[in-house]
């Protein structure tokens, strides 16, 4: 009797094991196939976010360079190329083409970094040029104002002398 119960226990354990095995066989592929897909999606999301950030920073640098007086038309052309790549990356992501999204986002990131570096360099140059221009303009204006004051003073003295000479001549001619 005990032997029969043991045998039945063993059978039920075996059945349970078989059910678990079958379940595992069904569930395992879901994990194995969803993990790489979701990780590719995660990679795409982080690549797009990274590209998005670098483009925003590059744009800020371009604005700063523009404020410093630099000609930023070339940088805007480069930014448009990078922006197009970012738009492509986002469209590919929406279509769940994550590999293409990553490729476009990475290219965008490289272009954005280059623009940011160029904008920074251009801003430094423009700031330096601006300082020099300000210095020369200030010196020029001060010299100009000084020359006008000095010239005006001399001119007034000369005019005054001539004025009195003429007045004196007129007085003498009146007395005679």
């Amino acid at each position: 009797m005990d032997k029969k119960v043991d045998w039945m226990d063993a059978m039920s354990t075996l059945k349970l094991f078989a059910v678990i095995l079958i379940l595992f066989a069904f569930v395992f592929p879901i994990f194995t196939f969803t993990t790489p897909a979701s990780s590719t999606e995660d990679i795409a999301v982080s690549a797009i976010n990274r590209a998005e950030e670098v483009i925003a920073l590059a744009y800020q640098s371009v604005l700063e360079a523009e404020k410093a007086g630099a000609n930023v038309s070339g940088l805007l052309t480069q930014l448009n190329v990078a922006g197009q790549l970012l738009a492509e990356a986002r469209t590919s992501y929406r279509l769940e083409d994550f590999d293409r999204a990553v490729r476009s986002a990475n290219l965008c990131y490289e272009n954005g970094e280059k623009v940011r570096f160029d904008a920074q360099r251009l801003k430094d140059l423009a700031t330096k040029d601006g300082r020099q221009l300000f210095w020369w303009t200030t010196v020029g204006s001060i010299v100009g104002v000084g020359a006008v004051i000095f010239g005006g003073f001399l001119g007034w003295q000369l005019f005054k002398r001539r004025y009195f000479q003429r007045m004196g001549t007129e007085v003498v001619s009146d007395e005679s």
Binding site: Y59, G83, A87, L95, T137, T138, S141, I142, G144, V145
Partner: protein, 199 residues
């Protein structure tokens, strides 16, 4: 004229010359506010680059061309996104009074960096790849925009007043705000109506 009057004239003349000599330096120190209004333009042109001959009666498989453009008058180089959205007659448009964009997801997007006073333009080609009709309803399943295929699954009921199945392709303009460091809807949108009746 007596000497006093001559002196006044002389002083005024000198002051004018002093102002002229100091003008370059003053222009660098004092910045006058720009009086002009700041705004952006958004437009759609037909296939001949004119505001005419817009695609209207659309057939399945036919390719249609447009141009979308942006003009910047913001006083600085601006960063824009132009979202292309597709809707049927009952789906929401942007709300101009509350400056809210349409809640529909964009199908396609353009990013543009435009210098102050400059314009940006890009061609847009689209075609309806797959659609079906069931009595009083029309279903668009797939649409191709600039060689990219999108699933839309959008239905439109028969418009008995205007006698057609109508859809709208429209563009929204978004502007990057450097203070909030995010894009904001710029309260500009433009679109064209498409009639699918002849499909």
């Amino acid at each position: 004229m007596n000497l006093e009057e001559y002196r006044t004239l002389f002083v005024i003349g000198c002051l004018i010359f002093i102002l002229a000599a100091a003008a370059p330096m003053l222009s660098m120190v004092i910045s006058l506010p720009k009086g002009s209004e700041r705004f952006s333009e958004l437009w759609v042109l037909g296939p001949n680059h004119m505001a005419e001959d817009y695609p209207f009666n659309v057939t399945i498989g036919g390719q249609y061309n447009l141009f979308v453009g942006v003009g910047n008058h913001m006083g600085y180089s601006a960063y824009y996104i132009v979202y292309l959205k597709f809707r049927n007659r009952i789906q929401p448009l942007p709300d101009a009074s509350s400056s809210k964009p349409s809640s529909l997801p964009p199908l396609y997007e353009f990013r543009a960096f435009v210098a102050d006073g400059a314009t940006w333009e890009n061609p847009v080609s689209f075609s309806i790849l797959e659609a079906s009709r069931r009595s009083n309803s029309f279903f668009i399943h797939r649409i191709c925009i600039n060689d990219v295929v999108f699933s839309v699954d959008s239905s439109s009921n028969w418009d008995s007043e205007n006698r057609g199945f109508y859809y709208q392709l429209f563009f929204e303009l978004w502007l990057y705000n450097t203070t909030s460091q995010s894009f904001e809807y710029h309260n500009r949108f433009v679109g064209i109506w498409l009639n699918m009746t002849r499909s």
